[in-house]
């Protein structure tokens, strides 16, 4: 159980957003880079749900894409079950690829509208050569059944289904290669709440039945709290805090986490007066110096403007913040 299935170390990704060469030459501009993910490290244990939360532009989806190999990493390493993904190629990579799958945010864009549902779900089976002939059809039927649709739906096209049903099809497709690990990138943010509840319950059931490991990406803190066993909070491409699921909410350590929790609308009507949140996420092209959060941070010190904070262990996990570092030294 304690064994790490996915290990990410110092993962960094830059995007080159420079103007074309000739413009640069004429306008005497430098090359420009956007750092979408900066020095992110975490581990996901087998069977757990690790969630990444953050606002838009915090690098959640970029990490997801790098984990499944849709994007290359600029620096750092991703290790899946002891195999380094950078540098692995050929049959070894192919074998690894079968073991992880992805569910995307928008079920209207992630299913090919010209393919029948059965073909969509069978594609990974054919790609990895898992089954042949009538076995494929049977397996597709089984999968549709697992996700709460009927085997007859294999003949239909995606447009005949609602958003929630399409997301079920996307889940069936992800399951068809019998993966151990699924990256879910905002799987319910395009869905209505009542449908979201159905999909979240389905994902939990599947995890219990098949022992799946999830990397769950969302901007919705309540959804994350419901799903995750451990949570990483991202801010401007940096991992500011990692903590055990529920404890992140009861004992938030990093000032950004505290701010984010404060901003969640209160459904319990406790009448809690929340602290007003200041400012917005800065432009990632010119992130603030030192700790990226310092312009919005109530605890910011001089040091925060100069140095980037390192990871310190906290009661609930770890966080990157100088204020916490000082607290720990004092105690």
């Amino acid at each position: 159980m304690a064994e790490a299935l996915l290990k990410i170390e110092n993962l960094t990704r830059y995007f080159d957003i420079s103007k074309p060469f000739l413009n640069r030459l004429l306008e005497r501009d430098e090359k420009q880079f956007l750092t979408a993910v900066a020095d992110v490290s975490f581990e996901i244990k087998r069977g757990e749900t690790f969630a990444l939360v953050g606002e838009s532009g915090s690098g959640k989806s970029t990490i997801a894409k790098m984990v499944v190999g849709l994007l290359g990493a600029s620096e750092g390493s991703i290790e899946f079950d002891g195999h380094r993904m950078t540098g692995t190629a050929g049959t070894e990579m192919r074998d690894l690829r079968r073991r992880f799958q992805m569910i995307f945010q928008d079920p209207f864009a992630s299913l090919n509208p010209r393919w029948r549902v059965g073909d969509i779900i069978a594609e990974p089976i054919h790609t990895f050569g898992l089954l042949k002939g009538a076995d494929v059809t049977n397996r597709v039927g089984e999968l549709l059944d697992t996700v709460g649709l009927s085997a007859k739906d294999a003949e239909k096209f995606p447009h005949e289904f609602s958003g929630g049903q399409r997301q079920r099809i996307a889940i069936a497709r992800a399951l068809s290669s019998k993966p151990e690990f699924i990256v879910c990138d905002e799987p319910t943010s395009a869905l209505d709440v009542s449908v979201q509840a159905q999909i979240l319950n389905l994902m939990k059931d599947l995890q219990d039945e098949m022992g799946l490991t999830y990397l769950f990406i969302s901007h919705d803190l309540s959804v994350v709290r419901h799903m995750a066993s451990r949570i990483g909070v991202l801010y401007l491409g940096r991992l500011v805090e990692v903590a055990d699921g529920k404890r992140l909410f009861s004992e938030p350590q990093h000032p950004y986490t505290q701010m984010l929790l404060d901003a969640v609308p209160d459904l319990a009507l406790s009448g809690r007066r929340r602290k007003p949140v200041d400012g917005e996420i800065p432009n990632p092209i010119n992130p603030p110096s030192g700790c990226a959060f310092h312009p919005r941070c109530p605890l910011a010190m001089d040091r925060c403007k100069i140095d980037a904070p390192h990871r310190v262990d906290t009661a609930t996990g770890y966080a990157a913040c100088f204020a916490l570092e000082n607290d720990i030294k004092k105690s």
Binding site: V193, H226, P265, L267, P276
Partner: protein, 334 residues
């Protein structure tokens, strides 16, 4: 009930199509009192935005108001001509739309857009209009408003743009602001800022707000009363605290249970089976009957009308609460 600012009576909106007429809003009635914030929630396709569009006269053809009436301070506005409606829109009813990028014209500066709107509705000089625009931008929390007013919309971030849109909606000092998913395109930290702003600024000016959203959390924080829409009909309407803490309609109860919260302990969410019916397949009787655990014979035959539940104006459209139904239930139980 005559002192309501806005009264919607038995509103019906239809879309004639080649395969028959679709009824998107069916017999919806509610009032908005002066200074009140009415939340309108529902899932996609419930008719939330259409209700807003019908009130402000912006239904896109072939959609049309097929029945009922809309009264603004006792005057009917649903049958006004285009010109008369144009004078109400912006002046007496302001709008804030979901996507701040599409509700601002990218080719004009913020100053031009604000000044134009102010001068359309009030008879003041350009210089005064500009002063007023700067003051408004300052009020909605745009830093260095006097300098930033000459920027184009793309110079502003999403949250700042939504602040500009709020300024634009408020510049003619309307009596009612219809905010259609004003925070859906924004991040949580910015969302809370915008909600607080709308609440504060409307309270300050005594404007009523009709807040359309799919997010119960936003409603809980902002609204005084809430109307829950399902398949173009009002399922439940009443004071926010009552509807959220003790939902009576099975749909509202299911909806509340299906929202994960920060204090929840149950590992599973309540789920409502199925999905909202399409407009061409709304079931006979109560529209919620195929998904309702408590449905009985009458629900499949007759459509429930909103039943008054208490003196606070709470109404629930569900046969479970009908006196006859209650008595019948006692019979079988006892």
């Amino acid at each position: 009930m005559t002192d309501a600012l806005l009264s919607v009576r038995n509103l019906r909106v239809e879309f004639p199509t080649r395969r028959g007429v679709l009824t998107a809003i069916d017999d919806v009635s509610f009032d908005i009192m002066p200074g009140e914030v009415l939340g309108v929630v529902g899932e996609s396709g419930a008719g939330k935005s259409l209700t807003g569009a019908a009130i402000i006269g912006l239904l896109e053809p072939p959609g049309r108001i097929a029945g009922g009436e809309i009264l603004l301070k006792g005057e009917r506005i649903d049958n006004l001509g285009a010109e008369a409606m144009r004078r109400i829109r912006g002046k007496r009813i302001g709008m804030v739309f979901q996507d701040p990028l599409t509700s601002l014209n990218p080719l004009y500066t913020v100053a031009q857009q604000l000044i134009e709107t102010i001068r359309t509705h009030t008879n003041i000089s350009e210089g005064d209009a500009r002063k007023k625009a700067v003051a408004l931008l300052d009020r909605v929390g745009i830093p260095a408003a006097a300098r930033r007013i000459d920027d184009y919309p793309h110079h502003f971030s999403g949250g700042m743009r939504q602040r500009v849109v709020i300024a634009l909606a408020l510049c003619a000092e309307p009596e009612l602001v219809i905010a259609d998913e004003p925070t859906t395109a924004l991040d949580v930290s910015v969302q809370s800022q915008i909600i607080d702003l709308i609440k504060e600024i409307c309270a300050e000016r005594g404007a009523s707000v009709m807040l359309i959203t799919h997010d119960m959390g936003v409603i809980a924080e902002t609204a005084d009363r809430v109307a829950v829409l399902y398949a173009g009909r009002i399922a439940e309407i009443g004071p926010v605290r009552q509807v959220i803490t003790q939902p009576e309609h099975p749909y509202t109860a299911g909806l509340m249970g299906s929202i994960p919260t920060l204090t929840q302990t149950d590992p599973r969410l309540v789920q409502i089976p199925g999905a909202m019916p399409r407009l061409n397949a709304i079931p006979h009787g109560c529209a919620f009957n195929p998904r309702c655990e408590k449905a009985f014979d009458r629900c499949f035959k007759e459509r429930p009308s909103p039943l008054v539940r208490n003196a606070d104006g709470r109404k629930v459209a569900c046969w479970l609460y009908d006196a006859i139904a209650l008595r019948a239930q006692e019979h079988t139980d006892g």
